[in-house]
């Protein structure tokens, strides 16, 4: 139980809170500085020889090919469910024939890059964070460094390039599978042919939609890679740190993906 003597005075409590706030404020800006330094280092090292082509291909396989089944399943379900859920709203106005157009705008403009990014931040981003984190705490990164290998180039640059390359491909694949899911639903309910569906699907889409989606996917891929690598590469405090790195990779990447989505959508709307 607190005695009168042990109870801190409100003023000293305030001071303590103030210093805590000051510390978190400093930590926040310090981490911003560090991540910028990390990104700058990536651009400085990724495009300077020697190039790690073999490792980039291996990482593309790990990040991309191994995610295809999950992306296919999610894409199909998203296409199917989105079409199914949108029908009642359109049928109120007797506008079921607009379904392919609505699905195309939703999938191509937003769902394909966004859902792919969210899935890959969970699957690939956390994997990168955990892998590099455990390599850091077991001194494997130090071992690489002392054996004359640049671990940043070998571990970080390859992974970031791999996610930047594969996520646009995965997002395109997601879009294709989601279209199939949407078509199946429309075909079963309205009996629309594939040819008509595709015609109506592409009608409302413009070059800006495709290019914006592609740019979005590239930005998301880069973000997921860089955040996962940053969290893992600088993880500390043993196994607890590995868990935190994996968790931090997912949470931070998802948060940044949403922020980037808002920014890119806003910028794209100026060109429409």
């Amino acid at each position: 139980m607190d005695t009168i003597e042990s109870t801190p005075l409100p003023q000293s409590r305030l001071r303590r809170r103030g210093s805590k706030l000051k510390k978190s404020f400093t930590d926040f800006f310090l981490s911003l500085y560090n991540i910028n330094k990390f990104i700058f280092r990536f651009f400085r090292e990724a495009f300077m020889p020697p190039y790690e082509f073999k490792e980039i291909v291996r990482q593309c396989y790990e990040a991309g090919v191994r995610s295809f089944s999950l992306i296919a399943l999610t894409g199909f379900i998203v296409g199917l469910i989105f079409t199914k859920q949108s029908r009642p709203s359109l049928s109120v106005f007797g506008a079921e024939s607009w379904l392919p157009g609505l699905v195309s705008i939703a999938i191509m403009r937003a769902l394909a890059p966004l859902v792919t990014a969210l899935i890959t931040s969970g699957k690939v981003g956390s994997g990168i964070g955990a892998e590099l984190g455990s390599m850091r705490v077991t001194e494997q990164i130090d071992a690489m460094e002392v054996s004359g290998t640049n671990p940043f180039k070998f571990l970080v640059c390859t992974r970031v390039l791999a996610t930047t390359i594969t996520i646009p491909i995965l997002a395109t694949f997601f879009g294709v599978v989601a279209v199939i899911g949407g078509f199946l639903n429309v075909y079963v309910n309205e009996g629309t042919s594939w040819r008509t569906f595709i015609q109506q699907f592409f009608e409302p889409l413009t070059f800006t939609d495709f290019s914006a989606s592609l740019i979005k996917s590239i930005v998301f891929g880069f973000t997921i890679g860089i955040v996962g690598c940053y969290q893992g590469y600088y993880s500390t405090k043993g196994t607890e740190g590995v868990g935190k790195a994996a968790n931090g990779a997912v949470v931070t990447a998802m948060f940044l993906v949403f922020i980037e989505e808002i920014v890119i959508v806003q910028i794209t709307s100026w060109f429409r």
Binding site: T138, E139, Q140, M144, E145, V146, G148, T149, N150
Partner: protein
């Protein structure tokens, strides 16, 4: 087990450290270290946990930067080297980590090939295989070539870790707690291996340990690190037979253990 006679060139220091200081936040770990490692010598750095022994060899290998003082390795001041030069120097230094630091995702063969393939650009497949087999034979673990690190025992991991550093023919070996966490028999085997490496590869080594058996069987010279400074240096007997109240309890406690 006593150590065999080593050929040491006391005129040629491969590592020269002067006035080295290192602190983490407010905690001063190293407070003015002066040290020389001679060609062909095995120097054991003894000390309690947290006295900065590992920090010392991490500074020597360029993994940490000192706050003050100079570190000259193989004639090069490491603070003046750029990334590329430091990388080239590191190839000449072997670092055996406390937990071996083997790459978990690679087999023993791939672990050994990794530094070789990355540092010898024009090496042929045949040369790689010969080198891998040679170092594996040197550490007595030829049969583990296709195993994963997770399938090896603690002692085997240590040996493979040493083999991985030997594959680049280093001139200096840095051992971080080579016998930590091993049973007494394996400790003796590792100590013998350290001496074999010294004889066969003509290396100069710094062995970081708090294990007196390891210190006695591998060290040509012992340096006792206490309170961030070397308190005593000399042969094992010279360091051991002391009435220094700061040093004596360390030996008494070790032998009780």
């Amino acid at each position: 087990m006593e150590k065999g006679k080593a050929t040491i060139d006391y005129k040629n220091a491969v590592i020269k450290i002067h006035g080295l200081e290192k602190a983490f936040d407010d905690y001063e770990v190293l407070r003015g270290i002066d040290l020389e490692l001679f060609q062909g010598e095995n120097l054991v750095v003894l000390g309690r946990s947290g006295t900065g022994k590992s920090v010392l060899i991490k500074i020597i290998s360029g993994l940490l930067t000192p706050d003050k003082g100079s570190v000259e390795v193989l004639g090069e001041d490491i603070s003046k080297l750029n990334d590329r030069q430091l990388q080239a120097l590191r190839i000449r230094i072997g670092f055996s980590f406390q937990n071996s630091a083997l790459y978990d995702s690679m087999t023993v063969r791939k672990n050994l090939e990794f530094p070789l393939v990355r540092n010898r650009k024009n090496i042929t497949r045949k040369e790689i295989d010969t080198n891998v087999e040679s170092v594996l034979e040197a550490v007595g673990l030829s049969q583990t070539i296709n195993q994963m690190p997770s399938e090896l025992s603690g002692g085997q991991r240590k040996r493979i870790g040493i083999a991985r550093t030997l594959i680049l023919n280093p001139e200096i070996m840095l051992y971080d707690e080579p016998t930590a966490g091993l049973d007494p028999i394996t400790c003796i085997e590792i100590n013998e291996l350290i001496n074999e490496v010294q004889q066969r590869y003509k290396t100069s080594s710094i062995i970081i340990t708090h294990d007196l058996t390891c210190a006695k069987s591998t060290g040509d010279r012992i340096a006792m690190l206490l309170d961030g400074q070397f308190q005593r240096q000399g042969s094992f007997e010279e360091v051991f037979h002391t009435n220094d109240a700061r040093v004596k309890p360390f030996f008494d406690y070790n032998f009780i253990q």
